[in-house]
């Protein structure tokens, strides 16, 4: 069933129904603001609480207690009176707070007094030789199938990479009876020392005990190879084997499925297309929006909450959603703000939720060789551009990602740089001896997600445009 937005204008439009968006929309609507929540998925939850209202997995411990927290957020949202539209793809947002959204093949435009972007995170590209072969997929994609359809791998499966999500996925696959032949841990050995000064905060954070028990659970059942320094997938039109180097020793193992993951990064596409200023984050190795303490961006009226504001995890996302919504309430209906938890309380909640984050970021900072490929390794999947192609373009004058577009069309395919952007920035920075901040990122453009010509053609026109214009 297709449901268009009920109004043309709202006090608050929240984009994305993950933890931050659910919390933000509920907070704004509870305070009496007209609130619209637009979300691309079929139900609420985002990635972390994907299919929270519909998952066929009923044994609660298989997905873990943290997953089911999402159900409470959804309940609060439904009680709040916010208008919620799923399968709604926002494809344009501009600095006038004009939003274009595609719902069931038809586009509508809504205007907001405040926009809260809660578009979450994307998996960081993992450009190793052979990463584009069928049979190689991201851990996130595997987790999507697991949560929404209870599908787990049954062929020869290798998981490679690092980060909390990798261990969580491995544990979830095993609990659901799936098969994992080997885990190749790419965490850089030096990172353990670098992370040490931040260990105290981590040890006293909720992540510690949970993370440790999950790793123990997985290690009891699967061979884990740590200190992997090289990784490649190969096969003739289909993944056949994975080869790696650990401790100076090379090994090749047969595989039907390789799941790659080396952390998540903010999903910046809609925010950047709206003109929001971003800066390179040297610790998380990604672009993060420039925000004030309430999540307000450089574009008046647009706030960002959740992992899109910088990776902080689900607990921090919920609090950031509440903070951004509270700030919107303070601006639009100051009297109603008194009913909400005080900003100071929310900020201390956030500090608690973010505890241990620096440790995780430092420990799981991906190694250079897994971020910056060389030679024939594909960088841009849409246009099949290799690392060597990028370097050749730099040699004849391409100075940054936007110039590279005209040489190689990188970032101009349907993915709009989601799969190559960070790699291109870092590769060009390395080649030119500059910082990623100096090199910059693709200028991103609407539609942030493709729409059909027919759908755009059906958008209501203004009177002046309908009249034929005679060429001068």
């Amino acid at each position: 069933m297709t449901v268009a937005p009920k109004r043309e204008a709202y006090d608050v439009v929240v984009i994305g129904a993950g933890p931050a968006g659910l919390a933000a929309a509920a907070t704004a609507a509870e305070a009496g603001l007209s609130t619209l929540l637009l979300d691309e998925n079929v139900g609420p939850g985002g990635q972390v609480f994907r299919a929270i209202s519909s998952t066929p997995v009923t044994e609660r411990n298989q997905l873990g207690a943290d997953y089911w927290v999402g159900a409470d957020l959804v309940q609060a949202l439904h009680a709040s009176g916010a208008e919620i539209i799923h399968r709604a793809t926002v494809w344009s947002l501009d600095r006038n707070l004009e939003i274009a959204v595609s719902i069931g093949g038809a586009s509508a435009f809504v205007k907001a007094k405040r926009v809260i972007l809660a578009t979450g995170a994307l998996e960081r590209p993992f450009p190793i030789p052979g990463w584009t072969l069928p049979g190689v997929m991201t851990a996130g994609a595997a987790q999507t199938m697991l949560k929404s359809s209870a599908l787990v791998p049954d062929g020869r499966t290798v998981i490679a990479g690092q980060g909390p999500l990798l261990w969580l996925l491995a544990a979830q696959i095993l609990r659901l009876g799936g098969r994992i032949d080997r885990i190749l841990d790419t965490t850089k050995r030096g990172n353990y020392f670098a992370a040490l000064p931040h260990a105290f905060a981590f040890l006293t954070s909720p992540y510690f005990a949970k993370g440790l028990s999950m790793m123990r659970e997985v290690k009891a059942k699967v061979q884990v190879v740590s200190g992997v320094t090289e990784l490649a997938a190969s096969g003739d039109g289909q993944l056949a084997s994975v080869s790696y180097v650990a401790g100076g020793k090379r090994e090749t193992i047969p595989a039907d499925l390789l799941l790659l993951h080396q952390g998540v990064v903010p999903n910046v596409n809609l925010a950047m297309a709206a003109g929001i200023e971003h800066r390179w984050d040297d610790l998380q190795l990604c672009w993060s929006p420039v925000l004030d303490a309430s999540g307000n961006s450089s574009v008046a009226g647009i706030a960002i909450a959740g992992d899109g504001a910088g990776i902080g995890g689900a607990n921090a996302a919920v609090v950031r959603g509440r903070i951004a919504a509270r700030a919107a309430v303070e601006a639009l209906a100051p009297a109603a703000a008194a009913k909400l938890p005080a900003m100071a309380t929310l900020r201390s909640d956030l500090a608690r939720a973010e505890r241990g984050r620096v440790f995780l970021d430092t420990l799981f900072r991906p190694a250079r060789q897994f971020r910056i490929p060389s030679g024939d390794t594909i960088v841009c999947r849409c246009e099949e551009v290799t690392a060597k192609d990028v370097l050749d373009s730099v040699a004849i004058g391409a100075t940054g990602p936007n110039q590279l577009k005209s040489y190689r069309r990188t970032g101009m395919g349907p993915c709009q740089g989601r799969l190559c952007g960070l790699t291109v920035t870092e590769l060009m920075a390395q080649a030119r001896g500059k910082s990623p901040q100096e090199i910059g990122y693709y200028r991103l453009r609407a539609p942030v997600k493709p729409i059909t010509l027919a759908e755009l053609a059906a958008v209501p026109k203004s009177e002046a445009d309908i009249k034929a214009v005679v060429r001068g």
Partner: protein, 373 residues
């Protein structure tokens, strides 16, 4: 520190880069100053049309001169700029429009121009098989085509630098002044001095002209473009409509560029534009009606470049009417890309020889001078 050069060119669009290159070819050592990077604005992000078709008569000589350079662009730049020549076709959607086309071609022929050719429905269908059956004919300019604008602008910049031009990108030209017989321009902590200053600053050129006492009726505009996903090859020439704002071009890789001059809202000082999706929807609807093959294509990106548009839609081109050594090259009003190569060549002739065989006298800034109004 003051550095003496032969000429200062302000603006790294295709015009500034082409002028810098042609000055080098004439033996001069210019400096090119670009506040962002070469091709950042309209020159790098326009539709890439290389079009003599449907031009205003006063700029046709410059356009023809430019066409000759485009056809030998590889020899000039060691870069083909992805230039291809499959013609450009102006489509008349009804008999009334075709009559206007007929009169136009007759007018050009009377002036001695033969590049535009009237075509009937049969020839139109042969050139553009996908066009709607109801269109009775149009005009073709067979040598026209298209190029990759960012690639072309960058190639001009690169060749100019190879031939001895100094290229300064990322810092705006500041404090432009004339003293002791030389133009002085600050770039960061450096100052350049030269007897010649070329104002090719695009959307920013009007401010420079006004600051030097030559205000002109110019506005900043941002024509929108959008590009589709790949569709099977179905069209070779660039197509423009007589009566509606639409231009249409399919690239070798199958993607289709849709333009035509609907405007975004420019924010010049932020280097930004805010797109007007309701106008883009009008373009989409026109394509939907005329090219059924396009109906299931997806729009993957839309954008707009910032440029200068004159009140009379003609560029400001030639020497200043007030200052010695100052030359203007701006205000190309949504159709400057094709003119870039020729305009650079003619500008170099005006600077070095004091005149050109190519007629540009109708384009001078003096047409706005109170005494000529």
């Amino acid at each position: 520190m003051t550095k003496n050069v032969d000429a200062i060119v302000v603006g790294g669009g295709i015009h500034g880069c082409s002028t810098a290159l042609h000055l080098c070819l004439a033996g001069l050592k210019p400096v090119l100053i670009e506040k962002d990077y070469a091709g950042r604005h309209a020159s790098g992000v326009n539709a890439g049309g290389v079009r003599q078709l449907a031009r205003h008569v006063p700029e046709i000589p410059l356009s023809i001169r430019s066409m000759g350079i485009w056809e030998k662009i590889s020899g000039l730049l060691d870069d083909d700029c992805s230039f291809e020549s499959h013609g450009q076709v102006l489509v008349a959607e009804d008999e009334e429009e075709l009559a206007i086309c007929r009169a136009r071609v007759a007018e050009l022929n009377a002036l001695g121009f033969t590049h535009e050719e009237l075509i009937d429905a049969t020839e139109l269908r042969r050139l553009v098989p996908a066009v709607a059956e109801t269109c009775p004919g149009g005009v073709v300019s067979r040598r026209d085509g298209a190029a990759n604008p960012a690639q072309a602008t960058t190639a001009f910049r690169r060749k100019a630098e190879q031939l001895g031009a100094t290229v300064r990108e990322g810092v705006a030209a500041g404090n432009i002044r004339y003293n002791d017989g030389l133009w002085h321009v600050d770039v960061g902590t450096d100052t350049y001095a030269a007897p010649v200053l070329v104002n090719a600053a695009g959307a920013w050129a009007g401010r420079i002209a006004a600051a030097l006492g030559e205000p002109v009726p110019v506005e900043t505009v941002a024509p929108m473009l959008m590009i589709t996903s790949r569709v099977p090859h179905f069209i070779d020439p660039v197509v423009i409509l007589r009566g509606r704002k639409l231009s249409f071009k399919q690239f070798k890789n199958g993607t289709v560029l849709i333009g035509g001059g609907h405007l975004a809202t420019p924010d010049q000082d932020r280097n930004e534009t805010v797109l007007d999706w309701k106008s883009l929807a009008t373009s989409a609807q026109t394509v939907f009606e005329l090219f059924p093959v396009m109906r299931s294509a997806t729009i993957v990106r839309a954008w707009a470049g910032i440029e200068a548009k004159m009140k009379d839609d003609l560029p400001v081109f030639g020497p200043s009417s007030r200052h010695k050594g100052l030359y203007h090259q701006f205000g190309f009003s949504l159709h400057g890309f094709q003119l870039g190569p020729g305009a650079g060549a003619v500008m170099a002739e005006l600077i070095v020889n004091g005149g050109s065989q190519t007629r540009v006298s109708d384009l001078g800034i003096d047409r706005f001078h109170p005494s000529t109004l």
